[in-house]
């Protein structure tokens, strides 16, 4: 258990090591098991919806930059694109994907 020493530590410095020092902190009581156990990640549906929307945003950046010099077509095209995604969000919402399961 000598890992704790900082690299610049002089040789005469003795690590004041006792075994409890390297216990995982759990409010002062002895640690029970590992933290790397079966764990219910309750928001995986959020992350799926997130991927969809993040990709959408990446597509919107170039559209936004050149938007001013384009005609109405740019607006209606993006409206269709956003409409489909809004429908997707609505679908996920109605299906209960945005609830804390």
């Amino acid at each position: 258990m000598w890992r704790s020493s900082p690299s610049w530590e002089p040789a005469w410095w003795r690590c004041r090591c006792w075994s409890q020092k390297f216990e995982t902190y759990e409010s002062g009581v002895p640690t029970i098991g590992q933290a790397w156990s079966q764990f219910n990640v309750r928001y995986y549906l959020f992350s799926l919806v997130f991927v969809v929307f993040d990709v959408e945003i990446i597509y919107l950046y170039p559209w936004a930059v050149i938007y001013r010099n384009q005609g109405p077509a740019a607006f209606y095209d993006a409206l269709i694109f956003l409409g489909i995604l809004a429908l997707g969000l609505l679908y996920a919402w109605r299906k209960g994907a945005l609830e804390w399961v």
């Binding site: 258990m1 890992r3 704790s4 020493s5 900082p6 690590c15 020092k21 390297f22 216990e23 995982t24 902190y25 759990e26 409010s27 640690t31 590992q34 933290a35 790397w36 764990f39 990640v41 928001y43 959020f46 992350s47 919806v49 997130f50 929307f53 993040d54 945003i57 919107l60 950046y61 936004a64 930059v65 050149i66 938007y67 001013r68 010099n69 109405p72 740019a74 607006f75 993006a78 409206l79 956003l82 995604l85 809004a86 969000l89 919402w93 945005l98 609830e99 804390w100």
Partner: protein, 327 residues
């Protein structure tokens, strides 16, 4: 310019940003936070180190520098140690695209005027979550793991409204370069044209930097200190640096995008920038002592069911108005 000069310039610039802006800002930010908290709660706050406690953070940093690094027996040492580098680095990268003012002859004072500046900012500020997840996982501590996982869900959810707010501004300015966005605000600050996007950006920024009312990641009354429970000494200080650095970067970006950047009458541009920056920082700290913490399902629901629909509607309305005005 030969490549080694370019490299030297980049390194020198990084050191300058690191020591000159971010560290000083973060150290001053900690002091400011404590002073403002004390003021709101009718206390005095740090008072004894230096005049009116001004040197308190320096003393704290010196103390933390002397402390031992403890790696818990069960932790993953590699991930545990490298997470410390990711968080402050991601926060420092944000400063690359922020124009702080003008140098002589109207040249913008910016480290690199990237033509994808806003996108770069969105990318680097999202990098913080990687460091937080690494810290949470690597510690092998239940509190830290919970904090890291909460952080992932929260940052992922609030990135989208933030991105939509950024897009609205990019559309008005017709550019992603932060310098051009500041130039486009010569007549009107975008906060006047885009109050909704401004509010959305501020809320999302608060969530991205894990501050109250969105501080579930490090909710001290339930998770000790969240993802950095196991860190000691300078590693702990580096996490704090990353957090405050990120907060200042978010505020600086809000100033750049919505409050006209360094623009203002009479006073020098850099001073204007700093005044606006600290006004926003004050708002962040004010909110901290005004609102209670959200519950995690309320937090995620608020982003997906309120902010994202509002941000989408705002984007469509803005696009429509821009089209009408153009015609």
């Amino acid at each position: 310019m030969p490549w080694y000069l370019e490299l030297l310039r980049a390194i020198a610039g990084t050191i300058l940003i690191f020591s000159g802006v971010a560290v000083v800002a973060a150290m001053f930010g900690v002091l400011l936070e404590r002073k403002i908290s004390a003021w709101i709660q009718s206390r005095l706050g740090p008072k004894h180190v230096g005049p009116q406690g001004l040197l308190q953070t320096i003393a704290d940093t010196l103390k933390l520098l002397q402390k031992e690094h403890i790696v818990p027996r069960n932790a993953d040492p590699t991930i545990f140690a490298s997470a410390v580098l990711v968080v402050p680095l991601a926060a420092l990268l944000d400063y690359v695209v922020i124009p702080f003012g003008t140098a002589g002859g109207g040249r913008p004072l910016i480290f690199r005027d990237l033509n994808i500046g806003v996108l770069f900012f969105a990318a680097t500020s999202a990098l913080v979550v990687v460091g937080i997840l690494m810290a949470g996982w690597g510690s092998n501590n239940k509190y830290a793991l919970l904090g890291g996982l909460r952080s992932a869900s929260q940052m992922v959810s609030y990135e989208i409204p933030m991105g939509l707010a950024l897009i609205t501004v990019a559309m008005l300015a017709g550019s992603l370069s932060t310098v051009k966005i500041v130039d486009a605000q010569a007549h009107w600050w975008y906060v006047v044209e885009q109050p909704v996007a401004f509010v959305i950006f501020l809320i999302a920024a608060t969530a991205e930097v894990n501050r109250v009312p969105f501080d579930l990641v490090e909710a001290e009354s339930e998770l000790v200190a969240g993802y950095f429970s196991e860190y000691t000494g300078m590693r702990f200080a580096l996490f704090q640096l990353g957090e405050y650095g990120e907060m200042f970067a978010m505020a600086a970006m809000a100033v750049t995008l919505f409050l006209g950047g360094w623009r203002g009458p009479v006073l020098p541009p850099v001073l204007w920038f700093v005044i606006k920056l600290y006004a926003l920082i004050f708002v962040f700290m004010w909110v901290r002592w005004t609102l209670p913490r959200f519950r995690i399902d309320q937090l995620l629901g608020f982003s997906w069911k309120v902010l994202i629909p509002v941000a989408l509607a705002n984007l469509v309305v803005t696009a429509y108005v821009v089209m009408i005005v153009q015609r």
